[in-house]
């Protein structure tokens, strides 16, 4: 019962970040601010959803897999954010 409450709360927070991130991604005016909005949804939205599901997990093995999912998603998001941000700079401003 307590686990259910925790799950609903955490997943709801995760959904909030997904909605906010997507809204920013659609509404923001330029590439870099959109990238900023997107990384919020990536990291926090998925993170809270994963934590919400961890509260229901039936084995330590599943918990490990869930945390690995988040870790890999974080790494992917960090890498692509860097690469795309650099790519989207105007040619003269690239470091």
């Amino acid at each position: 019962m307590i686990a259910d409450v925790i799950t609903v709360t955490l997943i709801s927070i995760g959904l909030f970040f997904f909605i906010a991130g997507t809204a920013g991604f659609i509404r923001f005016p330029d590439v870099h601010s959109r990238l900023h909005a997107l990384t919020k949804a990536d990291n926090l939205g998925l993170g809270f959803v994963v934590l919400g599901v961890v509260a229901q997990a039936d084995s330590g093995w599943s918990v490990l897999k869930l945390l690995l999912v988040w870790l890999l998603a974080l790494t992917a998001a960090a890498t692509t954010a860097q690469l795309i941000a650099r790519f989207a700079l105007p040619p003269g401003e690239r470091p």
Binding site: V8, S12, A23, L35, Q56, K65, L66, A88
Partner: protein, 93 residues
């Protein structure tokens, strides 16, 4: 609980739908790839939720696989955008 999980998955599908508009519209290529990236994360979240709904072996493995490959489209993209498709995305302009 299943009802809530379905509802949550539906919400994420709705955000995926909105992001698809960016992929289709751009305006820049970076926007399109970022949209695909965001949808990929949404897809992983949907699968994580479905792993509780279905309680079937392998769904979590699938989420893991997609998280592992999440950066591939973007890496392939920045690579392909250099002059010959093999350039350094962090050095050349």
């Amino acid at each position: 609980m299943t009802g809530f999980l379905y509802a949550a998955a539906l919400v994420i599908l709705a955000t995926i739908c909105v992001s698809m508009w960016r992929v289709l519209r751009g305006p820049t290529r970076a926007d399109r790839i970022m949209g695909a990236q965001l949808i990929g994360t949404g897809g992983v979240a949907v699968l994580v939720l479905l792993s509780l709904v279905h309680r079937q072996a392998g769904v979590l493995d699938l989420a893991l696989l997609l998280a592992l490959l999440a950066a591939f489209a973007a890496v392939g993209f920045v690579k392909s955008q250099s002059a010959d498709g093999a350039g350094d995305p962090e050095g050349e302009s």
